[in-house]
Symmetry: C2
Subunit: 408 residues, 2 copies
């Protein structure tokens, strides 16, 4: 069902020296299913995070932010599926802290050195006893080459594991980049029921890594939307172990740009994979808005198109319904938009110009583009020089079926 979602071969997934991964069946989600994952970090790794802006932030998100702020050096991540530990109040917070304390005890580190993550049902108490009871098996399982197993273990309604791995050279030193993500619904920037973990054995100081994590999120996980619903648990974590020996101390280091670009490409691929595997999706759409006066207005237009149920159902039907796209642009909230300066393309076909259908446009050209499974919608606003891009998918019967059945 997923749209052109590439799963790398096991031998193309590069371990990250300094990170070991273990998974286990803790019985939180359902029987016979690995639902508990730990990432163990060697001492000295830098870790940065970007989290949901939903005001109902789940307990683990609150604990993550506190533990990252404590600055004690993160030594492990623990992730459960099957329960989001969100909307669970004080008991939920205690459950997240108990999880950290239990794992810290086994590792001989402080609880503040653990980051907890949960994804699954909201408003149900986390079965923390089962989670803690599962930790020894997950720790026993810890190996550097378990990224593939982790990508499986963090899945909820995902139909496919999401992994990206690459190897680059930084000033002659080979560096590995490997990451995993999950998410299929309740997906919109800032962020989604989305977890993303990206590691590298390059070395970066914590402050620089924090800047980089935000910048990367704004070009990847914060540019995808499935249904406009921002979840309570979204987290993107960037880890730099430094084990490769390639240490970058500042943005001025000529190797910084190359590393940033490779990490951004990895995060973008992991984010796009979430859209490719979105609930019920049959088409992957790239919405690019050009000639905007600001990033804010480029995104307003892109999200108006990406969230319109009428646009999304038309793409599902492979119907080049230009009127619905133009209507969405018109209500995006740019009060002084001059529609006569607007141009719209579907793929390489110019379909609208000067506020109406392009004189040269033929319906069969639009139909040819709409028949594809990957479609570029490009809008030029004629207002400025800013461009931005959002990734989304269509809206199908299957989406309704999944979300009318699944208690998330």
């Amino acid at each position: 069902m997923a749209i052109n979602l590439i799963i790398p071969a096991q031998d193309a997934i590069h371990p990250i020296p300094g990170i070991r991964i273990g998974t286990a069946e803790a019985g939180i989600r359902k029987a016979g299913r690995r639902d508990l994952t730990v990432l163990l970090l060697d001492e000295g790794a830098s870790v940065a995070g970007v989290f949901t802006r939903n005001r109902f932030r789940a307990a683990p998100v609150q604990v993550c932010e506190a533990h990252l702020a404590a600055g004690a050096g993160i030594r492990a991540l623990v992730i459960n599926t099957g329960n989001a530990n969100a909307g669970t109040g004080e008991p939920g917070l205690r459950a997240a802290l108990d999880t950290c304390r239990a794992l810290a005890g086994r590792l001989g580190v402080a609880p503040e050195q653990i980051l907890p993550f949960s994804t699954g049902v909201i408003l149900e108490p986390l079965p923390v006893d089962r989670l803690i009871a599962g930790l020894p098996a997950a720790l026993d399982d810890a190996r550097p080459d378990h990224w593939f197993e982790a990508a499986h273990s963090i899945m909820t309604t995902d139909t496919q594991p999401k992994i990206h791995s690459a190897r680059i050279e930084l000033g002659g030193i080979p560096v590995s980049i490997t990451g995993i993500s999950k998410g299929a619904g309740m997906i919109r920037p800032n962020m989604a029921t989305m977890l993303g973990f990206l590691g590298t054995d390059a070395g970066l100081p914590p402050a620089l890594l924090r800047t980089l994590a935000t910048r990367i999120a704004d070009q990847s996980f914060n540019r995808i939307t499935v249904d406009g619903d921002t979840s309570t648990n979204d987290s993107f974590i960037l880890i730099a172990t430094g084990a490769s020996g390639a240490h970058i101390e500042s943005e001025q280091d000529p190797r910084f740009a190359a590393l940033a670009e490779a990490l951004t490409a990895a995060a973008r691929d992991l984010a796009q994979k979430i859209v490719r595997d979105a609930e019920g999706a049959t088409k992957f759409m790239t919405i690019r808005v050009e000639q905007a006066a600001s990033t804010d207005e480029a995104l307003k237009v892109a999200y108006a198109i990406a969230h319109s149920p009428l646009v999304k159902t038309a793409f599902y039907a492979s119907d080049p319904n230009l009127g619905r796209i133009l209507a969405a642009i018109g209500y995006a909230g740019i009060d002084d938009l001059d529609v006569s300066k607007l141009t719209l393309w579907l793929g390489d076909v110019r379909v609208a110009s000067q506020g109406g259908r392009d004189p040269a446009y033929r319906e069969e050209d639009g139909q040819r583009v709409m028949a594809e499974s990957e479609i570029l919608v490009r809008v030029a606003l004629g207002r400025g020089e800013v461009a931005d891009t959002v990734y989304t998918c269509d809206f199908s019967h299957e989406y309704v079926s999944i979300n009318a059945d699944y208690r998330s």
Copy 2:
């Protein structure tokens, strides 16, 4: 399919002295279907309008605004279905003006005294010759008691005609109020592919009628949403013929409040009927947000709930999925929302308090409310004293089917 949509009996629909209505088959929409409607107004009627804020405003909307501003006294409205005359550029504007000129010529009035309305497919040229050729038949058909026929004739994907009629007394003088509306998808405030025409034989000066029309729209047509898509053609027209002899010159007249209340109730019913007949809808939801600091934030929360595909599919499934409602409140855009002060009710059942599930809440109570076809979702934010209400519906397989098939 429509949810508790009441169609008044023919003899309960009160004609409005000073308004005559005719319908005809002009062959714009499909064969054997009345698709052309005229409302003829006696000299001296006041007319006010509220129109879409979509930047792609259709040609007839632009002409309506210009003709109302001209102040020559409106003498007729002409409405076609089957074609929205939107995104049609200069030729579309000319077609709308030609329509006005043709009808004005037959009535012996000026073109500026005509208001044109179109609803249907976007981006297709209006078959203006067929429209004009249909005018004589529509004029021949004009009678005071043709509101029911007009409610049918303006339908597009509507499954039911939408009519409201009432009779009140203003200082001893009986006054009639009758209106019709249409719309089923691309529905969200400001406004929707929605047409609403409301007439009374009370008399009001034009300036006071304009103020009243805006106030009414903000409590009715601007408080409904089906899919969040604001159309290019939405229009609400308020007509006061004065034929009853009850003339109100200012807001200070003690009869004004009574008339305003009756007209608002009529408009609210006509607006709610659009939601009741919304594409694929199986449930009618009233989203009431209380204790907000401002109208803006009350509406932000109400629309976040009303537009969430996850909330709407949960209602379709009759699933009291509190997590999805709380998540929507959390991402509504109130940055300093303190979730611990929030209370949520489904119908009369308090389901969440202090940021989590209410301790006394039992799932079967939530399920009992969700099984109803009319559901009140009530949120208290604990921030202030402002309340506002939005009306919406659920999101079904049928919505996807309709919008994947219909070229609107």
